[in-house]
């Protein structure tokens, strides 16, 4: 596995697009955190309403929520990385040169997991630094949100992975991904929740993890949920895991069986 990952690293280490997107994400998460923190602390009414979300222990939840708005940048990186292999037909060449199809897939899953861990690590470090800066709360409380952040990142990236494997054109795949992540699922979830059945929207792949990490939208969610008990966090995690398994299984089967 280390050897496979090493070759994947060779494919991106001098690839400008890879570095631009990774750096965008790397600076995007702390910058967005700073921006939202400033907004909350310097607007009295908001501050009264929200309390101190950037202090321990709430900072784990808040930072994970902030990061999830930037995570699609890494999804785009993954889509480009995967559609490149199709467009350049290097997936063929990798197999011809001696990889098995399973090795090719394992290498790509390795990239998926490494990227997930990178995102999670950045969230942990950012949250920790903001927590330290903002007072004396208990840092060990709420750390379950680190796990939730990992599940959320994996869900967002697995959808990108699926699109990257099944779509030939990077542009269309990225457009679908961004539209779905930012608008599409919000619309579908809203319609399911309020036109069909309360909390039915929780059964969507990204929405299940968004509800796991409510962040600053928590008070609005609480208002909307009055009188309707939402699914538990365990249920959200199980829903997300189901979709993660589904996306990756379909991708695996496609690469395993298809004419490349």
């Amino acid at each position: 596995m280390i050897q496979l990952l090493n070759i994947e690293w060779m494919k991106v280490k001098a690839y400008r697009t890879f570095w631009i997107l990774t750096i965008l994400f790397f600076v995007g998460v702390p910058l967005l955190n700073i921006a939202i923190e400033s907004f909350v602390s310097q607007t009295k009414e908001v501050s009264l309403l929200l309390g101190s979300p950037f202090a321990f222990p709430r900072v784990w939840d808040t930072t994970a929520w902030v990061a999830s708005m930037v995570t699609p940048v890494m999804g785009i990186m993954l889509i480009i990385f995967l559609t490149n292999e199709n467009n350049f037909r290097t997936v063929r060449q990798n197999i011809i040169d001696g990889w098995s199809r399973d090795q090719y897939i394992a290498a790509k899953f390795g990239v998926l997991i490494t990227t997930t861990l990178f995102i999670t690590l950045l969230i942990v470090v950012t949250a920790f630094l903001f927590g330290l800066k903002n007072g004396t709360g208990d840092a060990s409380e709420n750390t379950i949100y680190i796990f939730y952040a990992l599940i959320q990142s994996l869900a967002y990236l697995s959808l990108a992975f699926f699109l990257g494997v099944f779509m030939k054109r990077a542009g269309i795949a990225i457009a679908i991904y961004i539209m779905y992540a930012y608008v599409g699922e919000f619309v579908i979830a809203g319609l399911l929740d309020y036109k069909v059945l309360r909390h039915l929207g929780s059964f969507l792949p990204l929405e299940s993890t968004d509800r796991l990490i409510p962040g600053l939208s928590n008070f609005a969610r609480k208002l909307a949920q009055q009188g309707h008990t939402p699914p538990s966090n365990t249920q959200y995690v199980l829903i997300a895991l189901f979709y993660i398994a589904l996306f990756n299984f379909l991708s695996w089967r496609k690469i395993k069986k298809a004419d490349l």
């Binding site: 070759i7 494919k11 350049f88 290097t90 001696g98 298809a258 004419d259």
Partner: protein, 298 residues
Amino acid sequence: MENTQILSLHQIYKNYGPIQALKGVSFEVPAGSVFGILGPNGSGKTTLLGIIMDVLKANSGTYSWFGQSVHHDQRKRIGSLLETPNFYHYYSAVRNLQITAAIKGRGADDIERVLRIANLWERKDSKFSTFSLGMKQRLAIANALLGKPEVLLLDEPTNGLDPAGIAEIRELIRQLGETGTTVIMASHMLDEVEKVCNHVAILKKGDLITTGHVDEVLANEDMVEIGATDLARLEGVLNALPGVKSIRRHNGAFQVMFTDSKTAEQLNKHCFEQGITLNYLATKRKSLEARFMELTNN
């Protein structure tokens, strides 16, 4: 060495929807041969090569490399160029070859040699996306040669090359064949196959028409051109000769085909004994092109 098979195909079938691309193709590639897979466009050559390199899935049939059941590590011993040059567009020639070497687990120290063979050493740090068609093809050939593989598998290797490049690649294949590398080459260029290959398989619309040593495939097709001052008498003598398949008058001489192979010497002797002195005698191998047209047109 001559008895072992590098590659065996057994009843390979492949459909693309309703289109049957391969209809039960079986043949064997002996070790050390320069093996030409010949066929017109759309005859299934590239599909066949795709299947034996595991990038396409056959609907049925089996194949084996090196006399063993298929394993992906076997492909690390094969240098391949399949259909198009496939490289990371954003990387230089050298970086692309480094990735190939890493996957193959060999050849990292061989990059300079293969780039020099392909006349790309001066452009080693240029991005692949800046290469011309011919240079891309040269890089693909360099990629196939990397790490001195035991087997070379080349699909239309001279695609996009200029005449000098074509001659160089032919010479290279011939040299490699002489030094024991097995070369499997697909082409629709007949003279290319005729000039470098010693074994050949001919495909037409997914059917294998014939396979064997080039001499065998063409063996019974030798033709003798024969001339004398008295053509009428010569014709009489030839007609009386056993084993004559056909006689055709051509430019003041006869083109004679035999069912068995007769040497020019035998023929000369026979005519002389019958009192005819020949003024022209030549043995001509029917060209592969004529044979190919004959095989694929009926």
